[in-house]
Symmetry: C2
Subunit: 163 residues, 2 copies
């Protein structure tokens, strides 16, 4: 397969909000996002991994100027649904690598993780879409991450290892 | 904003593998995906939420026929990096709702969660991209989920509530 990595972008305008230890039963994601949607809060990422002990974390990102309002809305909901807590962070950046022709995300993803690890950058969150691999990292690494990923994947060109 | 939900799709060919309680420090995601990429395993979703206690879960999905090989590769890595365990499930389906013009994912997402909750379907994982909101649910609900989501979002048409 011929993967072409076309660019690396950083979105520094995102703040993340995590409802921790949400009971993993039907209806709770709806209880959280209903009011968020009604308030016209702009939600970009929604990430929920599978639960282990009957609870799971639900994270979403909003623009920095929707952050206070979003927190205000979800805090009482978190309490009402019995979530363990709410954690949030405005000091994050979403870095996305766009790759055309990715039949598998593994190659581009592993290269991203390798490059960031080499710089001592911790990968806090990971999400994928058809043409992107996105990571959320600490905002202070934004410029460094974009630069090293662009060098390794775009400038040097990403080559999938052949079978 | 004018959101148009154009379709609902189900991918029943995905199996999920979760490395549980991966120590949250640089270099470990690279250690997992390096060998996975070298083995040419086709990875679709990669989901990692933020850590809480210094560890986090890392989930990825592969086609059913890459499943056994992927598990074989990650099991020893999980042990080597000190992960808490490996959990996997072939009985899942990824259901994706495609929406054009979604400035925020909140409206479409909350409607999806509402509809699934009404049917008693538990949302196991959530992921978003520019034009999609995807959920992973138990495979047995595949046909029901697609039918009710198509009815509610495509046939009836999704309307963002106006401010
Ligand atoms: C945790 C939350 O997503 C829950 N599983 C639900 O279906 O609403
Ligand atoms: C958990 C894993 O993603 C780790 N944070 C890393 O950067 O490799």
């Amino acid at each position: 397969e011929d993967v072409l990595v076309t660019g690396v972008a950083a979105d520094r305008n995102e703040a993340k909000i995590t409802l921790q230890r949400v009971p993993d039963r039907p209806g709770l994601a709806a209880k959280i996002f209903g009011p968020i949607a009604k308030a016209h809060i702009v939600v970009d990422m929604i990430i929920q991994n599978a639960s282990e002990d009957g609870t799971t974390d639900l994270t979403f990102t909003v623009p920095q100027n929707d952050y206070a309002r979003a927190l205000e809305i979800v805090a009482p909901i978190a309490a009402e649904i019995g979530a363990g807590g709410v954690k949030s962070d405005t000091d994050v950046v979403k870095v996305s690598v766009v790759g055309l022709g990715m039949r598998s995300h593994a190659g581009v993803a592993s290269r991203i993780f390798e490059v960031l690890a080499r710089e001592g950058i911790n990968v806090e969150m990971i999400s994928t879409s058809e043409i992107k691999v996105s990571v959320v990292i600490a905002a202070k690494y934004s410029e460094l991450a974009v630069r090293v990923l662009h060098q390794a994947l775009v400038a040097e060109g990403f080559e999938e290892e052949s079978a």
